[in-house]
């Protein structure tokens, strides 16, 4: 069998109009991540289990012994549900910032992917979708750990994976956008100290927002982690009014839409050169061209060097 004989059969089926968003392309990116996960699942699972366990051990027992109850919940219950949302943020936003930056900047991974029938928006969506799926699954781990620490299981917990998926998608897109904004590894210091820490602390995870100044409480309303925490706590303990729940979901969805556009736009600016400076010019590029120009001009008037 030759290449030519079967080439027509093996050719990818692409029926969409040019520029149209295709689910198949997104799934291709997700499949790629799934294969990579086959190698990394042990480390990922280790982090997903150990981190919330340590938080619950240290804060739950340490602080819990001092605090007792908070906002009507035992502190370990309050913290356990908060840790689920924090874990989702760490599982999605951290790799979205770090891994995406490394893949784009150093591994040339996206150069390879974008040479296949996949566009930037599909690439970004696929990367975020994978992290969201992973968050949906691993978001349940701290919940199970919290149950081990005394959180009472309830039917509302079945909704947690879906909330974790939604929040994970939002954070992953947010992280991908940031990864496309920053230009160096050093910039990540600003991201982690200036963005991660306030997001993480001002979300009602470790203590209720009501203890904070009014302006901080207002700022927390645009923190997707706050809405994820409220939703998770609401479905685990019950008592969340449907309208309030829809409000939290709506904020998360709006954040997803905004970040999807921003991440796609910024990533495209980084991986598709449409002017300005070339992505990685050889150091001697300009000098080489200067040396070349006269010869090229001479030869463009081309005729054989001698005609006798």
């Amino acid at each position: 069998m030759t290449l030519r004989q079967t080439r027509e059969d093996a050719r990818p089926e692409i029926h969409a109009r040019p520029g149209r968003f295709e689910a198949d392309a997104v799934l291709g990116v997700v499949a790629r991540e799934w294969i990579l996960y086959g190698q990394s699942w042990r480390a990922t699972t280790f982090a997903a289990v150990v981190e919330p366990t340590l938080y619950l051990l240290c804060f739950g027992f340490g602080m819990g012994a001092l605090i007792g109850t908070l906002a009507g919940y035992s502190y370990i219950d309050f913290l356990g549900t908060g840790i689920v949302a924090v874990s989702v943020m760490f599982q999605s936003m951290m790799p979205a910032v770090i891994n995406t930056f490394i893949k784009r900047r150093f591994l040339h991974t996206y150069e390879g992917i974008l040479a296949t029938p996949i566009d930037v928006r599909e690439l970004v969506t696929g990367e975020a979708l994978w992290l969201a799926l992973r968050s949906g699954v691993y978001g349940c781990v701290p919940l199970l750990v919290a149950i081990g620490f005394g959180l009472r299981p309830g039917p509302g917990m079945l909704l947690v994976p879906f909330i974790a998926f939604l929040a994970g998608f939002a954070f992953a897109l947010f992280g991908i956008w940031i990864s496309a904004v920053i230009t160096s590894v050093r910039s990540m210091d600003y991201v982690f100290s200036g963005l991660f820490t306030p997001l993480f602390l001002v979300a009602g995870t470790f203590f209720p927002l009501t203890e904070l100044p009014d302006w901080v409480q207002s700022a927390a309303m645009v923190n997707p982690l706050y809405h994820a925490v409220e939703l998770i706590r609401g479905v685990v303990f019950g008592g969340l009014a449907p309208v309030t729940a829809l409000g939290h979901v709506a904020v998360l969805l709006a954040f997803i839409v905004l970040m999807w556009f921003l991440a796609g736009f910024q990533m495209r600016r980084r991986v598709v050169s449409s002017g300005g400076l070339p992505p990685a010019p050889p150091p001697s590029h300009a000098a080489t061209r200067r040396r070349w120009a006269p010869s090229a001009a001479r030869s463009s008037r081309a005729r054989p060097p001698r005609s006798r």
Binding site: T2, L3, R4, T6, R7, D9, A10, R11, P12, E13, I14, A16, P18, G19, L27, G28, A31, R32, I35, L36, Q39, L107, H108, E111, G112, L114, A115, T116, P117, I118, V271, V272, S273, S274, G275, G276, L277, P278, P279, P281, P282, S284, H285, A286, A287, T288, R289, R291, W292, A293, P294, S295, A296, R298, S299, S300, A302, P305, R306, R308
Partner: protein, 308 residues
């Protein structure tokens, strides 16, 4: 599907393509036609615009002016269709090192959307073509440089592309390893696949290409079969003369004064089209080292630059 399945449509068509990076014009009015089934070597030194041209063909760099069509598809508007029908071998090795040979290929079989039932066969065929048939479970990190490069090439062939773009496929490899890779490229030629291969290795371009396009300062300065170009610009024979007491400048001036094209080859002066040297001039020169003209002579004559 796209407008063009006919073999009459050129695999590549570039008209007046310009790409600027700030004040630097990397590609400067490039015209290039590549009929289907041809292996075209794009030969030029660093800074000639080869890699920028390759990036424009995958729409990872957008042309400022001009028209680009791949297999009849307009770039960048219909780039995804074009990418579905072509394979791209990048200059940078972006294999996933922590994965096996088989996993790397499987990953790209998803990205290229190889139909599920043909996936296994496509991967097996690629491994055989790369002479990695027994190394499916070997981690890429454990492969030699040549094996990695072969894998990088066949990764772009999983979907049986009609056109293959290779950006410096053998750069940085040992001569022996380079020659191993030529076998893969020759196999593609035998199958009638169109190949555009940028290189700055003269020998590679000469041995592998049906036609060579010499690129300098962002445009093609000459185009033809290696044999025709050599005959046109360098004749049949080159003679290398070692300068006497008068020095190399005087020797060069003497020969050029008779209307011959020369180039310096280290401490000697090479005379192109030496079979036409008159006896009166030959009598005044020392005994030369005689050799057949080659593409390097043409290249240096046209561009004033030496390449590897």
């Amino acid at each position: 599907m796209g407008p063009s399945d006919s073999s009459a449509v050129p695999a590549l068509l570039l008209r007046g393509v310009v790409k600027r990076f700030g004040s630097l014009t990397a590609v400067d009015g490039l015209d290039l036609d590549v009929p289907q089934g041809v292996v075209l070597g794009l030969l030029g030194p660093n800074g000639a615009g080869k890699s920028t041209t390759m990036k424009m063909l995958t729409a990872q760099s957008l042309a400022d002016e001009g028209e680009i069509r791949i297999l009849g598809h307009e770039i960048p508007a219909e780039s995804k269709w074009a990418r579905a029908r072509m394979g791209v071998v990048p200059q940078h090795d972006n294999l996933d090192e922590e994965l096996t040979v088989e996993q790397n290929l499987r990953m790209f079989s998803f990205l290229y959307r190889v139909p599920r039932r043909q996936r296994r066969e496509a991967i097996g065929r690629a491994m055989r073509l790369a002479q990695l048939g027994d190394r499916g479970d070997t981690l890429v990190d454990d492969l030699s440089g040549g094996m990695r490069r072969r894998l990088l090439i066949v990764r772009a062939l999983l979907h049986r592309p009609e056109l293959v773009l290779m950006d410096e496929p053998t750069v940085g490899l040992d001569p022996q390893v380079r020659q191993d890779l030529w076998g893969v490229i020759n196999a593609l030629r035998a199958e009638g696949v169109t190949v555009l291969m940028s290189t700055h290795y003269i020998e590679e371009a000469e041995r592998l290409s049906d036609e060579v396009a010499l690129m300098a300062a962002g445009r093609v300065v000459e185009r033809g079969t290696p044999a025709d170009l050599v005959a046109k610009y360098a004749g049949a024979t080159v003679e290398e003369y070692t300068p006497g007491e008068d020095g190399i400048d005087a020797l060069e001036a003497l020969i050029r004064g008779h209307g011959f094209t020369t180039r310096r080859t280290g401490t000697t002066v090479s005379v192109l089209r030496a079979e036409e040297l008159p006896e009166s001039l030959r009598d005044r020169l020392a005994t030369p080292l005689r050799r057949a003209s080659n593409l390097e002579d043409v290249f240096v004559t046209l561009t004033g630059e030496s390449v590897e």
